[in-house]
């Protein structure tokens, strides 16, 4: 044992010190993808959901088919957890390569817990508290020789449960739920591994016991039941709540799980999800569904979205409702398929040929994935328009706990409206919103409408009239402007005016909120504006942006030829303010809070703020 925490008499003394109180902790589990470390993260996240703790996870998965290094990071604690944490307080390293790759992510004073059977930490590195634990042999001893090292993840879960004084009955209940239904042996083995892991610190660690601060129930807990899920699941369930019963898609990481869930769930609801031959067929089939009055969804990631562009233009021209999910990943081309990026914004808004006013929404966290999926379908129906739901790889796999939605209030009844349309029915009236008569609907006049990608008159018949083309372009544009006028003002946090306004869209919400608090704590008057309706923009932004010396837009894409990110470019074009600048990066990872603080400091030329970032913040786990 190399641990400085080893009791004076090994195997003898028990944990003596009372647990130390902490507010939150970032645990990084680093191993291989087959070790089931995602499962540990899942258990911790769901435990937090059932407890007073808040939680956020962060995961990287290898793009190789099986095996390969994989990490799962969980941040749990008391109060609002907004980001997955810049650096880890506890690193659990399963292998030497895990140690080598991730020791740099550990905060000074943090705890390195490594599998003594596989890892040899660098000698003479005294920055951390090193704990050598025979994870592999411990698991094998507990579960029995034949099981090899399967169950190491549950052993580690036991270790963590003991170190952080987690609620054991709730955890074992979760283990039963997860493995129950399978072979009873599996449940028993899992519980044996858990108990063995749980017992180990008691006999081997002198210190290193923690407990989360008691929560101020009155302010921090909604009192509502929490649900714990990832962003892609939240989108799929949002569609179900919104009354979507039809969809089509083609697999691509990180979108596939949405189509997998819908393919599995929709038959229960009497719906159909079609796996198509490609992305073009997928959007075409989805549009065919919508044409029958069943507003449908399709989705993909960057490359697949490109394939859908021609049909998306048709949807604008034919005014056909549809929702297209795009789970952004690193591009261009196949790029970094299992990393996060926000580089499809321009494609989402402008990617098609012709003038194609359409709607783009971007969820800010997992909970928002659920609600914006519903909102996307509502807008598609109400304005008979294509809507893009622009999420990203980080959100797709991140697990968060949030208040269980009030489904009773949210559920929208599906189904086409086939009531007979009056004799004056026109599919494309110039003075009114288009409301299609789905195929199967009687038209009292006996004259049936055509939906079309050619410029058309009010009845859908082709026209070469320059006047009608201008009028119809205006119609398609004005309805999107009408939508814009109804949008709620975006969420503004911090100071109402001042030195800096951080602007974000998509999954950067959490880190930016945390960065804001640090910046304000350093005495800088600053605000944070987060935009969910990225196109069209909600009203009133001009006035808000004007109240700050610098408007700093943080986005995960390249700064481009002119030095501005994609959303920044749009805001500059729209509001013509030279104060609008960018913090951009494309390292495939979400923003660290420190990166945002540093970016703001740089733009403000604020040296004090900058030095704040370079000050290493010791881990709350550090020995006193």
């Amino acid at each position: 044992m190399v641990s400085p925490n080893t009791p004076e008499s090994p195997g003898g003394a028990s944990a003596s010190a009372a647990p130390r109180s902490i507010k939150d902790v970032v645990i990084r589990l680093a191993g291989n993808s087959q070790d089931g470390i995602q499962a540990i993260g899942g258990f911790l996240a769901r435990l937090a959901g059932r407890s007073d703790q808040d939680v956020m996870t962060y995961m990287t998965i290898p793009s190789t088919i099986s095996g390969g290094p994989s990490i799962f990071q969980v941040r749990m604690g008391t109060g609002d957890i907004l980001s997955a944490g810049d650096r880890a307080d506890l690193l659990v390293a399963f292998y030497q390569h895990s140690y080598d790759a991730h020791i740099g992510s550990l905060r000074p004073g943090g705890v390195l817990l490594y599998d003594a059977d596989h890892v040899k930490p660098a000698e003479g590195d005294h920055r951390f508290t090193n704990v050598a634990c025979p994870i592999t042999t411990g698991t094998i001893e507990a579960v029995g020789g034949t099981a090899k090292d399967k169950g190491k993840n549950i052993y580690v879960l036991g270790l963590i449960a003991r170190i952080f004084d987690l609620e054991v009955p709730k955890l074992t209940q979760l283990i039963r739920e997860r493995f129950g239904g399978k072979n009873e042996d599996i449940v028993r083995n899992a519980l044996l591994a858990f108990d063995a892991g749980y017992a180990w610190p008691q006999n081997n660690l002198r210190d290193l016991f923690y407990r989360f601060e008691a929560i101020d129930r009155a302010t921090a807990v909604s009192g509502k039941t929490q649900v714990t899920l990832d962003g892609n699941s939240a989108i799929a369930y949002g569609f179900l709540a919104a009354g979507v019963r039809h969809g089509a898609g083609y697999p691509i990481t990180p979108w596939s799980s949405i189509m997998e869930i819908l393919r599995t769930e929709l038959p229960k609801y009497g719906g159909v999800f079609v796996q198509c031959e490609d992305e073009i067929a997928s959007i075409s089939t989805a549009l065919g569904f919508s044409y029958t009055g069943n507003v449908a969804i399709t989705g993909s990631a960057g490359p697949g979205l490109s394939l859908k562009m021609e049909a998306l233009s048709w949807a604008t021209m034919a005014e056909m409702p549809i929702v297209v999910v795009n789970v952004q990943r690193g591009g261009p081309s196949t790029g970094m398929p299992t990393n996060v990026e926000q580089s499809d914004l321009m494609q989402a808004i402008y990617g098609s040929h012709g003038d194609t006013p359409r709607v783009v929404l971007a969820p800010k966290n997992v909970e928002d994935c659920f609600y914006l999926a519903i909102e996307a379908v509502r807008i598609a129906r109400a304005y008979s328009t294509p809507v893009l739901l622009l999420t990203d790889q980080a959100l797709s796999s991140r697990i968060e706990a949030f208040d269980e939605p009030d489904l009773k209030a949210l559920m929208v009844a599906p189904g086409p409206d086939r009531t007979e349309r009056p004799a004056d029915f026109k599919p494309y009236p110039l003075d009114r919103q288009t409301r299609h008569a789905p195929a199967g609907t009687r038209i009292a006049s006996g004259k049936y409408p055509v939906v079309t990608g050619l410029e058309h008159d009010e009845f859908g018949h082709p026209t070469g009239s320059p006047k009608l083309h201008s009028q119809m372009n205006a119609k398609r544009r004005e309805k999107i402007k009408a939508l814009a006028a109804t949008l709620p003002p975006p969420e503004l946090g911090g100071d109402a005016s001042g030195e800096a306004l951080i602007v974000t869209w998509g999954s950067n919400y959490g880190p930016a909120r945390e960065a804001l608090e640090r910046i304000r704590a350093a005495g800088v008057a600053a605000g944070h504006l987060h935009i969910r309706h990225v196109h069209p923009l909600p009203p009133g932004l001009e006035e808000i942006l004007g109240r700050y010396r610098k408007v700093i837009v943080a986005e995960l894409n390249d700064e481009g030829v002119y030095g501005f990110g994609q959303f920044t470019t749009l805001l500059r074009a729209r509001y013509a303010l030279p104060s609008i600048v960018s913090i951009c990066k494309t390292d495939g990872l979400t923003f660290k809070v420190s990166e945002l603080v540093a970016g703001v400091a740089r733009h403000l030329g604020n040296a004090t703020l900058e030095s704040l970032v370079s000050q290493a913040r010791p881990s709350p786990l550090a020995a006193r």
Partner: protein, 313 residues
Amino acid sequence: MSTAVATPPPPAGAPLTKKILTADHPTWCPGCGDFAVLASFYRVLEKLQYPHEKIVTFAGIGCSSRFPYFVNTHGGHFIHGRALPFAAGISLGGDDLHVFVFGGDGDGFSIGGNHLTHTARKNVRITYVIMDNSVYGLTKKQTSPTSPIGFKSKTDPWGALDQPINPMRTLLNSGATFVARSHATQVNHMTEMMLRAARHDGFSVVEILSECVEFFEGAFDAAVPRKGGNWVLIDEKKNDGSAEDAARHDVTDEVAAFQLAGLGWPGKFGVFYENKTRRTKNAIEAELIAKTREKTKGATDLALLQATFAKLR
């Protein structure tokens, strides 16, 4: 602008006639084979007498794909080559609808070739009429996937060089459950083929040789007796036990169908293949729904989603 509302509506339940089914005046060149296809289609609808609102005509892009504007039914004009997946959405989204798709050889066999294969293999309930003129008509005379070697087009001024596809073989190979071939100069035959295709429960295709008088005049004369050609019909098995019946074509025999497809130009016309046993995707999906709902005991949508969320607590 259309005067659609000016004409008095037909009384409810009135039989569908060509007059009721006629919409915009076709924009095709005088003499285009597509006119005859349209005339035959009116006759098919007159015979079928489906409820007017349940008929849907859809198309991709091309001269032939303008078809839906000329038929007064629900319908539309999608993008080049993708009408089939769109129609699959219509068919699976509205199982009571009668879905007809029209298009050209370029639309179907070139840009839409992959969709043709997959819609066929899934056996989605759709009737698909390919108006093959062996040229790109709308874009004014480029080589098409069915242009014969030597055909002088704007993209092959020296005559087409690439091997053309064999439409019948392609359709058989992709798993279409009804495959027929006709000629736009044979209105009765065309009508019969489209009628049988429409009545087929599954993905049915009729390829109609339809001359583009503008860019490929005389393309199909080899099958027009008036022009010295041979119009040879497939002699279909009657199952009458007679001696001569043994030599007739069994439409359920895939191998025999491939043999017919391999005949030299201009080949034979009629039904090459018909498979009444393979189930449609429509039926398979309906059964999946029925079986799944049996398991959930007809729970309401709300109860189903609530149960899902309860598991996420």
